[in-house]
Symmetry: C2
């Protein structure tokens, strides 16, 4: 955010707290609705009411579309019914649907009743699509012309819908059954003679998406093919609406945040609210699940430690490198799983690539393991001579260094492979790969690390 904008927002915040309506108006009149939404979201509840009263319903219909789900209903409730009706009418249809999806069932019925007949019908149609599908995300406000028109007809036809059409960067050409047959660019209308036929300037549709498809697939298509607008169709190829590049940006950002959070063992849907505005209860709910599950899993490592009591108490110096051997597995396994999960999210890995991934990560694991083994082996032999007294008779430091080196090499190599393959395995059994991201991998390879370390120690040091 620019410094200038931060400053305006800060001054507005103070003006709101001081109930200075004149200054608030002066500061807010030129702000973009995205900035106003932030101002509103960050304000205290009583300050929010002051804002709704002072900015007025017209300005607020745009702000409404930018608010997190949880704030939508109470915000609408602070307006009079006639204002609510105006706000709902002035919204773009995809924003209106989003908002109606965020309110309670009874409110939704009330709000739908407020709409005029045509808008009500359109809105009900859109509400049938799941929020996460292309249909649930599209806007029906699309520039549409018939193949039989001339440039002049098309311009006349579009002129009527001009106000309700969000973008004309692409105009779609349909036949009399509303089936998608092609696209033209607005420049084809602007720069051609009026008597040119649309069918002479129409271009083929390279990409469209079914309304029932996942919104992520739509965003992925827009991103891959550098599109501004993607047409959404039904099974009979009838044009239902469009998804625009700014929708794609929003979808991809949400997905990335979700992936990042899942990768840290944070469960549930990403909050639409900012970090600070999300309640403690909802933060708690999203974090406690994995924490408890992983906590119990970690007791397995404890059982391994119990089993090797004799080994550890005989050569207590082993404990100096125990956390390191164990943690190195978690770190390298986490790196491998993160790389593989991201590659899958970007659509780079097919199931048949599994053996290539395994071969790649096995070599990487051996290399990384060898590197750490050599470094730590040298360190173990040369660095801490002051600790030598704790070694029992018959064990020398070369043996000890070798133990640590071999253990860490084996641990890193196996953990790398486990980290890379578990997400692929998860996907194969239709689980979300992100579930086996770093924290789960770390806990799993903690157990294997203990077993590896103590087993190697037993056989080399003969304890």
């Amino acid at each position: 955010m620019s410094e200038e904008l931060s400053e305006i927002l800060e001054r507005a915040e103070i003006a709101i707290q001081q109930r200075d309506a004149v200054l608030v108006h002066k500061l807010c009149v030129n702000l973009h609705h995205a900035d106003l939404a932030e101002l509103y979201e960050d304000a205290h509840p009583e300050d929010r009411i002051f804002l709704t009263e002072n900015l007025g319903s017209e300005k607020f219909s745009e702000i409404l579309a930018e608010l997190p789900d949880t704030l939508v209903e109470e915000t609408l409730d602070s307006f009079q019914p006639h204002e609510q009706r105006e706000m709902l009418h002035s919204l773009a249809d995809d924003d209106r649907v989003d908002i109606l999806q965020d309110v309670s069932d009874s409110k939704r019925r009330d709000f739908l009743e407020m709409l005029d007949e045509e808008k009500q019908k359109d809105t009900r149609t859109l509400l049938r699509y799941d929020e996460e599908t292309a249909g649930g995300r599209m806007t029906t406000q699309v520039g549409k012309v018939l193949a039989t028109m001339s440039v002049k007809d098309a311009i006349e036809h579009l002129r009527g819908d001009l106000e309700s059409t969000s973008t004309l960067a692409r105009i779609f050409v349909v036949n009399e059954d509303d089936k998608l047959v092609g696209k033209i660019r607005l420049r084809d209308l602007a720069f051609n003679a009026w008597d040119v036929a649309i069918k002479d300037v129409v271009q083929d549709i390279d990409h469209s998406i079914l309304a029932t498809a996942d919104q992520e697939d739509a965003a992925y298509m827009i991103s891959r093919y550098d599109m501004l607008i993607l047409p959404v169709v039904d099974e009979s190829n009838r044009l239902l609406g469009v998804i625009t590049a700014d929708d794609a940006i929003e979808i991809l950002e949400e997905e990335s945040t979700e992936d990042i959070e899942k990768g840290a063992g944070i469960a549930g849907d990403q909050s639409e609210e900012t970090y600070l505005n999300t309640s403690i209860a909802s933060h708690f709910k999203r974090r406690c699940g994995w924490l408890v599950v992983l906590g119990f899993l970690a007791i397995l490592s404890g059982f391994v430690m119990m089993r090797f009591e004799h080994t550890l108490t005989q050569i207590y110096l082993l404990s100096l490198f125990l956390p390191m051997v164990v943690a190195a597995g978690g770190n390298t396994g986490g790196q491998a799983s993160t790389m593989v999960i991201r590659a899958m999210a970007l659509g780079e890995l097919d199931p048949e690539d599994t053996s290539r991934v395994a071969w790649k990560e096995m070599r990487l694991g051996l290399l990384l393991g060898a590197l750490l083994g050599v470094i730590i082996g040298i360190f173990a032999v040369f660095a801490p001579p002051a600790l030598q007294f704790t070694l029992p008779a018959g064990v020398n430091f070369t043996q000890f260094g070798l133990t640590v080196a071999i253990a860490i090499a084996v641990q890193v190599a196996t953990s790398t492979l486990i980290g890379a393959l578990l997400p692929i395995g998860a996907r194969a059994i239709k689980m979300d790969p992100a579930v086996v991201a770093s924290p789960a991998i770390t806990t799993i390879v903690d157990v294997s690390g203990m077993v590896i370390y103590f087993t190697v120690a037993r056989s080399i040091l003969a304890v």
Copy 2:
């Protein structure tokens, strides 16, 4: 990716391996250049040469723009100089600049010499901007008209540049000094009478960005304000070019991948190549650094274990819950740091929010710690009576359960706070917050976890 597309790509792959030029042509002729780039990138080196020979230089100029950095030079080298010249000329100027940034200095000089005078001058200007800035990312192919023109003048003026203008979704209005004074929409030209003056339809510019600004700021602006096109200006507000929504998508995807990778302790710039096409050496280089650093850090935990030898060997049952107490800190600290780092990346947290973050995470940490403490305390007391024999005389299971419960509660609470505050601290001293993501936090709270566990055990169990 759609199944149909995957199938075509697979069939094309086989046709390439069989050197079936006719089938390759048939399969590839209708593919989008993004798909062809994937086909080319995934092919073996000798198959790539077959593809360049068979698809021809015209098709390849578009593919070139989609290739990862490392493939650009060798691909260009497989064409004749006159083909290289054609390819470089037919590229959009931002793509051409990207490509020239990817080749060696001497090649860059050669390729620049091939361009005609005007393109050479424009390209040299763009090459002056750093690759990561708005200027380095923009295209200069922008629709531009003068405020003094009429709609007719503007149409005539734009018609000349039509082929070289990538998008006309927004047309920018400048004065005689090329300074940005406003914008119009193409629809303002298409749907207005020819004698209407541009100054009567011009709209204010709400957002523009300096060419020297970070490309991320540009992408962030496009995303926040749902823009299709963002104008890029110099210090005197002269219009230099534009960044489009598809650039923003690319920038944001790169940033998200980088954040995800950094969060797993993977160093260095994200590879432009896919996971499978990235060499072992470059994977190795990006992963080994943190692995070694964290490995040595983990020895600190080992030192703590050594220090508490007496405590652990006296009540060896403590080892049953040692990994769990330690790991719970890593997991909760990782969750907290991930949430805070992502909130910072999305621009939600200012430095003055530190105390609010601390207050939030302290309460969360206490709640999560209390939850785990109670669950684990109950488990420790009731679950493993078979292990009771290892407790020394004078210690009962209630005391033992209390020890584990208190230790895990304290560990979770402090780790949550550390996880949330370290990234903020890192930013305060101008370090990248992502550096203290999960793996680093985990290693740090491993140490504190050991100290907490053994200290609590000592004081409650009096060993």
